[in-house]
Structures are given as C-alpha cells and as structure tokens.
Amino acid sequence: MNLAELLTAPEPHRPAVTAEFPAVDGGGLEAVAAHAARLAPYVDALNATDNPAAHAHASNVAVAIALRRLGLEPVLQVACRDKNRLAAQADIAGAALHGVTTVCCMTGDDVTAGDEPESRRVFDLDGPQLVRTAAVMAGGAYLSGRPLTPAPPLFIGAVENPGAPPFHERATRALKKVEAGARFLQLQICYRPERLSAFCERAEAEGVTPAAALLPTVALVKGARALRYMDTKVPGISIPQDVIERVEKAPDEREASYEVSLELARDALAQPGVRGIHITDFRHDETLGRLCSDLGLPTMRSAPGEDAVAV
C-alpha cells in the first residue's frame, strides 16, 4: 500500500510513518542504500529533502530517484527558496518521469539559516502557490496552460507549523493549502502538545481534515543539548524549559529524550485528523525501530524491486 492509498483510504488502515531521509553529499548510491537500509523497515515513505536548513546537498530529485531505484517510496520535498517557478515545475515533472509522484511543497527556511547566507533568496512562488502549481501539473498542464501529457499522477502535500505564531491562524493557512490541492500535511516538530491538539481541533473545524491527512513530526534526539539547540536556534520551534531540564537532569539523557519523543508521538497519534507521524531522526541508531515497536506500528516492511534493500 503506497502512501497515497494509506492516507486517503476512507477508513484508516493503520497510521502511516514517514521520515526525513538524511542529507547525502557523496559516497555514491551505496551511501543512499546504507541510510535506506536502516530506515526502510519502519517507514512507508522517505522525504528526499531540498537543501534542508539552507545547506546545499545532493539534490532532492537525485536522492528521490535513488530511493525509487531501491524500491522505496520517496516524498519529493520542493522548497521555494532556491528555485523559481520554472525550476520547481521542471523538478516535479523530472522526478515524475522516474516514478516519483509524491510531492511535499514548502516555502522553505531562509538562506540566512544556512552556511551560505550571502545567497540570493528566490521565493518566486510561496508554499500555497507551489501546491496549486503541482495540482495544475497533476491536471495535465504547466502553470502557463501548456499541456503536460500524460499528466503525472501526483499525490500532493504541504507543511504547516502548529507551534509557531499566529497559532489561531495556522489552521486557516493550512486550509488555503488544502484548497490549493494538498492532501497531506507534514507538521513541524512541536514539543508543546497543547498547541498541536489546538491546531488539530481547529483544522477539523475548518475542514482541513479529513480532506488532508495530518502527519505531525516527532524528532528523535540524543539529549538535552539537541533540544536546547532547537529551542534557541531553529526559528518556529519552541521547547518548554521543563522538558529540556527533565532530559538534562535524567541519569540517562538518551533514554529520557526517547521517553519524551514516545510521549509526544502517542499524544500526536491520538489527535483528530492525524493519520500518521513523520520522523526526524537525529540519532541515526536503532531508536526508530524501538519507537515503532512501542507504538504498535509495523517494524518489518518488504521493499519490492530487483535491487531492493533487504529488510
């Protein structure tokens, strides 16, 4: 069952799990396969990121194609920061040519968040406009109206941040993306469950759900230092001090931060409109498997295809 089927079935079969694929810089396809082998048993799809945190890496399209060749389902992230509308459409059409048809559209963090802040920021489109652009392509045309035949069967998603101001407008902005054509929303990491639940309730009231499936993000971190970094250095993420201190003062920081993540994941999965979780794994160890096991989610998927990873 692919991600689109899982997230759009009228009755949820089980929660879906997606995860951020680590940024790749080199090492050939073996490097991609190594990360994929670790993550694949636990996920339904993997996000091929688009220069995450405004750092250049192997491109979203290249990594997505590599994942497809490994028999996995990539989610092609497309951000508005680095490319104008021509390039964004070319990436979506080009990836679809290789069978990459799940797309997640986002505005993208600013160039000043990265290691080349002197870059020109593009933002020719914004997130909602990119969603509609993808929807136009799925309907068989480029933005100009020029035919795109055959139309790529795109499954289109977007992102939203339930934990950043203006809190009460986040669901209305999500609705704009749904109206533009988004059918799933990967939500930013949120360490404040009350904000996530308020967002999900409002999303339901506004009609964001069930039109779109919500996938809140849960981060797997090593300890308090990572939490403090996110809290102070990543705009849009705020972590309560008592959560950081709870991890910091615990005898085993890794274990304590895992417990925090597990609680957040349980809470997220219980919210209305939530049809799965998205994982950002900063630990690069066996924790994702443990999390899925503790949540009662599948921990052994087979990957189809000849050169598939063994899982």
Partner: protein, 143 residues
Amino acid sequence: MAPLLATIEHAVKKPVWDCRMCGQCVLHSTGFTCPMTCPKTLRNGPCGGVREDGSCEVDPSMTCVWLKAYGRARRLPGHLGDGVDELRPPVDNRLQGTSSWVNLATGRDRALPDGWRAAAEAAEATGAAEAAPTGPAAVEVPR
C-alpha cells in the same frame, strides 16, 4: 502618463505602507499590510519560521508581516477582512515598478497564467470542501 502615476503612487504608498511597487497591489486583502515587505515576499500567510515572540525568522528586529496582516484584517468591520483567506496568485514579475492603479484600471493586474486561472475557476466552481475528498487533486485545463 503611466510613469507619472507610478511616481505619485510610490510617493503616497511608500511612507504609509513601505510600498515596494510590485504593481499588483493586494493591500485591501491583507489588512493594509504590504506582503512584499516580508523578506520572503510571501503573499499567502506566514512561513513556519515565526519566532516565539512573533518576530520574523529572517530579521528578528521586525514583527512578522503576516502576524500584523492577520491581526489587522480580522479587526476590519464586516467581511472587509475576508480577503486575507483567499489564495493569491503568483506575482507577475513584469509588473515590478509599474503603477498598480493603472494595472487595476486596465485589469492587467488580474491577468493570470492559463493553468492557474483554470485551477482557480475549478476551485471556485466546486467549493473547497467538495474539491477535497480523496485522491490526488486534479485540475482540468482547457486546451
């Protein structure tokens, strides 16, 4: 005539709204807050990087433009502020520096790429809720 109007428009709107002369003014639907003053020039709401105190991800010394826009639009009487929830189309970069008053009068600022226009009309016709139920969104574009 048109350049003169652009000069006058800029002279009026720059001091009041910090107008950037995009030539396709949407102040009326953004609570009279210019979205082009957002460092990312976002026309459809705030990015996910708004800081805890409501300041901008890119320039923490300023309040998020969209925090102001939503706040002001919601305080407008009647339905005057509803436009804030509309999906605004991509900017036509050819209009940069031209007078939005002229473009409004001639209808030039409402010209849309065919693909976008078809999608907008389809969304208008079906209504968002019905357009949404299952499966990939598809927009039929007349050829």
